[in-house]
């Protein structure tokens, strides 16, 4: 192994000489305390290293040892329910080992527990031909997820021996005889370098919406399974709450939640809540399908840079088992800033706003790891990774480099708006600025699963909201009374759309999750009101009166009614009352 000598220390960046023979991105042990670092630049025998721990106290002259391996994650049973830092150190185990509320330096605890014995059930038998990516057995890792033990990519051959029973992740569970006669011992744990995407056979077009239960997302700006979305917004506009909502209610099998340079308390909230919250889909607890990566803002900045890769590699691993994975990253801006900070210490030529010139390509490479795919292996398996990245633009200005480069890549844009947040219109997603490029792809699904008129309703509602914005400009000049009756109806209904449909309180027991059919019916009711209102206004009814019909008050309360009751009892009644109460206005104008 290469052993070099430190010649310079500046914050998280250390320079060492005598490193000839090392590789780019190789993990090294820095100094007497053997802090973990990664080589990020090689020039002659001089290596520049980013160190994943605080470097205070390190001196020039101390050794740097190579490990020969790139930064990798451990993959196998024991991942779910874990909370890791940016380089996959298990934070719960660290708390136990150190007995401290703080994270000291130089602690080393393996990512997957070595003492747990998992019940391995083989799914192949001796003599079977297998190749990388094939499932050779299963472990019931949590109540929600059966962990499929995959043959590591690159191995191909005949099962020579296969075991069954309780094993640790380091025990051999199978022996494979490769084509050139070599015998490979297969364990439940494998490793994968984080900066290298895991392979797949083929990318498939995204056509199924990821159902999130957020009306503005599902109905208006849908995310497809395997798709990418960005959620930029100034501080306090709702990035974290939205991502937590997605993590709770989306119909993905596995959720990877990356807290990248954000608050400690937000991670704690997830740790405390998820073990108690019920997973709608399985009836088990949400934590059973969740993995947390927590590299909070006060934790070392180089590990923050790595956290994104750690998370996405684990996501791909579950995808390769044929699962659907949602990865949320809060916030990709902090990740970009970590890159900027490291680049700054390297005295690299800065690009826009001090970010390194490779910012755009790193962002693109990250989002490119999303997708719905045919998995590797000889069996037919399909899985997906969805990526939702929060962006925190300085001053809320979307023209800055991280936001603008992200928007060039992702297909869905949920634009958070400080003005809406100030008015406590939540989710504060601006309906005029946001978009989804998946709408056409997912329309058939909605038509099949809700109603054939889903798309018309959605588009018409969107047009109303756009029209409202135009009309409001006029109102600002001349007051509302000057508008023709038809347009006053539009203003009234647009307000209903905003308040009774788009607004959705994440903290309301019922409304926190709105199922697709309920979304459709709610929209249908409001749009029915609209059409009927137009009709009676044509007959001379004063729009002021329309605003006061009693059914409007009950339309406003739809969101608080559980789906079953709503669909069976409330919705039909509301549709009837809209007809009756508005018609009555014609008779006694």
């Amino acid at each position: 192994m290469v052993v070099g000598k430190i010649v310079k220390i500046a914050g998280p960046v250390v320079v060492a000489d005598g490193m000839k023979g090392s590789q780019m991105y190789e993990v090294v042990r820095v100094g007497e305390e053997k802090l973990t670092g990664e080589i990020i630049q090689l020039r002659g025998d001089r290596a520049v290293i980013q160190v994943y721990e605080e470097t205070t106290g390190i001196r020039p002259g101390e050794p740097v040892e190579g490990t020969g391996a790139p930064l990798s994650v451990e993959l196998g049973p024991g991942l779910l329910k874990s909370i890791y830092d940016g380089i996959q150190r298990p934070l719960t185990a660290i708390e136990t080992v150190t007995g401290s509320i703080f994270i000291p330096r130089g602690v080393s605890v393996p990512a997957l527990p070595r003492d747990v014995k998992w019940d391995f059930v083989p799914t192949v038998k001796e003599g079977d031909y297998v190749e990388g990516g094939d499932v050779i057995g299963t472990v019931e890792e949590t109540k929600s997820i059966v962990h499929k033990v995959l043959l590591p990519v690159g191995i191909k051959g005949k099962i020579k021996e296969i075991k069954s029973g309780k094993f640790t992740v380091e025990d051999t569970v199978a022996v494979v005889e490769t084509e050139d006669g070599e015998e490979k011992e297969i364990k439940m744990m494998q490793k994968w370098p984080v900066r290298k995407p895991r392979p797949y056979r083929e990318k498939l077009p995204p056509t199924i919406p990821l159902i999130t239960g957020e009306r503005i997302i599902d109905t208006f700006f849908s995310l497809a399974k395997g798709g990418t979305a960005a959620i930029p917004g100034p501080f306090g506009s709702g990035k974290t709450v939205t991502q937590q909502q997605l993590a709770k209610w989306s119909d993905a099998d596995v959720v990877i939640y990356i807290g990248c340079g954000e608050r400690g308390n937000e991670m704690t909230e997830v740790i405390e809540e998820f073990p108690h919250l019920e997973d709608r889909r399985t009836g088990n607890k949400l934590i059973d399908r969740t993995i947390l990566i927590a590299n909070t803002s006060n934790m070392p900045v180089a590990a923050r840079e790595a956290s994104i890769y750690t998370g996405v590699t684990i996501a791909e691993y579950f995808r390769d088992m044929g699962y659907g994975v949602l990865l949320t990253a809060d916030s990709t801006s902090r990740w970009a800033e970590a890159m900027r900070e490291i680049a700054g210490r390297l005295e690299e030529m800065p690009g826009e706003e001090g970010y390194p010139a490779y910012l755009a390509s790193r962002l693109a490479q990250f989002y490119e790891r999303a997708g719905r795919v045919k998995c590797v292996g000889s069996e037919e398996k399909e899985g997906f990774v969805c990526i939702v990245g929060a962006v925190s633009p300085p001053g809320g200005d979307f023209s800055e480099p991280v936001t603008s480069n992200t928007l060039r890549i992702v297909k869905v844009f949920w634009a958070l708006d400080a003005n809406l947040a100030r008015r406590r219109h939540f989710p504060a997603i601006n309906w005029l600025q946001s978009y989804s490029l998946y709408i056409d792809d997912v329309t058939p699904w909605w038509q099949e699963n809700t109603g054939p008129d889903w798309r018309e309703l959605r588009d018409e509602a969107m047009r109303l909201l756009q029209k409202e914005a135009e009309l409001q400009e006029i109102v600002q000049l001349v007051g509302p009374d000057a508008l023709p009756d038809r347009e006053r109806v539009i203003l009234e209904v647009a307000r209903m759309l905003r308040e009774d449909f788009l607004q959705q309180d994440a903290f309301d027991e019922v409304d926190t999750y709105c199922p697709p059919m309920k979304q459709y019916m709610m929209l249908k009711i409001i749009m029915t009101f609209y059409r009927k209102a137009l009709e009676v206004v044509e007959k001379g009814v004063d729009p002021g009166k329309i605003a006061k019909v009693p059914v409007k008050r009950d339309i406003a309360r739809m969101k608080f009614i559980p789906e079953d009751k709503f669909l069976k009892e409330v919705a039909p009644e509301l549709l009837e009352r809209i007809e009756k109460e508005l018609e009555a206005l014609v008779e006694n104008p």
Binding site: I101, R263, N265, V301, G344, E353, P394, R424, Q476, F560
Partner: protein, 462 residues
């Protein structure tokens, strides 16, 4: 780890730039270690290693470099990282920005020495803050509820009464029904001696000083010292909270001055600047301060932070409030417009936010109606405020009856709910009742955000 060359002294200063000294020919210097600098006139100063190469160390001098020369300055490397001696005797005492007593009292005999940079709290060891702190100020307790372990800054502007507000919070803050051990750690950075006196007088008058530890770096003290002050204060707070079971309220003022000091060092090092000349790592740096608030497993004490900052040109998008807002759990925003109207405290609730409010509100914490009534208040005030703009253009006659009600609501809300006396300590019940009373101004069908049962129970009958 033992220092290799403990207290080796060098006279090889090769250059001095701003707050930085470059020392050449050094050996075995550790990154981040503390340095003693002896000036040509024999005065002792403290510094810290910012960067080290095989034989060169870059040192920042906390008391500034005035009076230093390249040929007659002596530099000693101590082999230690920055530490402060802490003890319970610190309560009731006043220190300078580096932790030296300035109240004429004796030196502190430390119970132990603690690293002022601390270590990051393990997120697993935290517990979500959820104990309601009653500040007695309606505009905070009602819509922007503060909880124990939260970090909630005051975003102010020059000339606004943020100091009064901070003092009033420090005086009135309590967790109801508990007589627990409470302390205030007060860290001033770059404030004027007039402001410092105001705080001292207030603390003395109310007897709060006995339970306070005060660190003061004045406007004419060295700017670089400000880098240390909040860290020393928070280390003291961690000692009091996690080792002495106290609930500590930390007031840091003015964070704007802290950030200026950070910028000064970055400029002296010729670093690539981020937005408006502030260093690119300012977010991370501020996080290492603000994230030291919290409530943790297995410890009785907590740390609640109220940092104060003045927004340059009242601009909330300026990097200092911007980066702060991205880290803290909300913000209390003071408004010049309300101040001009004579409203104290001039808290504008619309841009203000307490992200942990929902943890401290409701049944068992305050009162069952709290979250819903506040949600309605927000919506109503926002509506009233936007109608004000419209009125300015089209006149009040053009408005509907409903709109006029909202306008009146906004005015009354500011006059009766937001505005209160500098010594007025309102209970949460008084605050909530006042909110309901104001809602009677609106037509009842407008109260869409409150469930019928609560309206029945709490809305005063006209």
């Amino acid at each position: 780890m033992e220092a290799v060359d403990k207290y080796v002294e060098y006279t090889s200063v090769s250059s001095i730039a701003g707050p930085l000294v470059i020392v050449e020919g050094v050996k075995g210097v550790a990154y981040g270690e503390i340095v003693e600098i002896i000036t040509p006139s024999g005065e002792k100063r403290t510094g810290q290693v910012l960067e080290v190469r095989e034989d060169i160390a870059v040192v920042q001098v906390f008391e500034g470099t005035t009076g230093l020369s390249t040929d007659r300055t002596r530099v000693r490397f101590t082999g230690e990282t920055a530490k402060i001696g802490v003890s319970l005797e610190m309560l009731g005492r006043i220190f300078d920005g580096t932790g030296r007593p300035i109240d004429g009292g004796p030196e502190i005999i430390p119970e132990k020495k603690m690293d002022i940079n601390g270590y990051p709290l393990n997120p697993v060891s935290r517990r979500t803050p959820d104990d309601f702190i009653q500040t007695g100020i309606s505009a905070i307790d009602g819509p922007n509820t503060l909880v124990r372990g939260q970090k909630l800054p005051i975003f102010s502007g020059s000339g606004l009464p943020h100091n009064q507000l901070a003092v009033q919070i420090a005086r009135q803050a309590k967790v109801r029904g508990e007589g627990e051990r409470f302390a205030v750690v007060f860290a001033a950075m770059g404030i004027t001696s007039e402001e410092a006196n105001f705080f001292m007088e207030e603390f003395k008058k109310t007897g709060a000083l006995e339970k306070a530890v005060v660190f003061i770096n004045l406007a004419d003290d060295p700017a670089i010292e400000r880098i240390l002050t909040p860290r020393i204060a928070l280390t003291t707070a961690e000692y009091l909270a996690y080792e002495k079971d106290m609930h500590v309220l930390v007031i840091l003022t003015d964070m704007t001055n802290y950030c200026e000091a950070l910028r000064e060092i970055a400029a002296a090092r010729n670093e690539v600047p981020g937005r408006r000349g502030y260093p690119g790592y300012m977010y991370t740096d501020l996080a290492t301060i603000y994230e030291r608030a919290g409530r943790v497993k297995g410890k009785k004490g907590t740390i609640t932070q109220i940092p104060i900052l003045t927004m340059p040109h009242d601009d909330i998008t300026h990097p200092i409030p911007d980066l702060t807002g991205y880290i803290t759990e909300g913000q209390i925003v003071l408004s010049r417009e309300l101040h001009r109207k004579g409203i104290y405290p001039p808290i504008d609730i619309l841009p203000s936010l307490s992200r942990l409010a929902s943890k401290g509100q409701g049944k068992g914490k305050t009162r069952e109606d709290h979250p819903k009534v506040m949600s309605q208040i927000y919506a109503a005030y926002a509506e009233g405020r936007s109608l004000r703009d419209l009125v300015a253009v089209v006149g009040e006659e053009a408005l509907t009856e409903r709109d006029r009600a909202y306008l009146r609501f906004a005015d009354e809300f500011e006059r009766r709910f937001v505005s209160q006396g500098k010594d007025e300590d309102r209970s949460i019940e008084e605050t909530l009742d006042l909110a309901w009373e104001l809602l009677t101004i609106l037509p009842r069908e407008e109260l869409k955000r409150i469930p019928e049962e609560l309206i029945e129970k709490y809305l005063p009958k006209k």
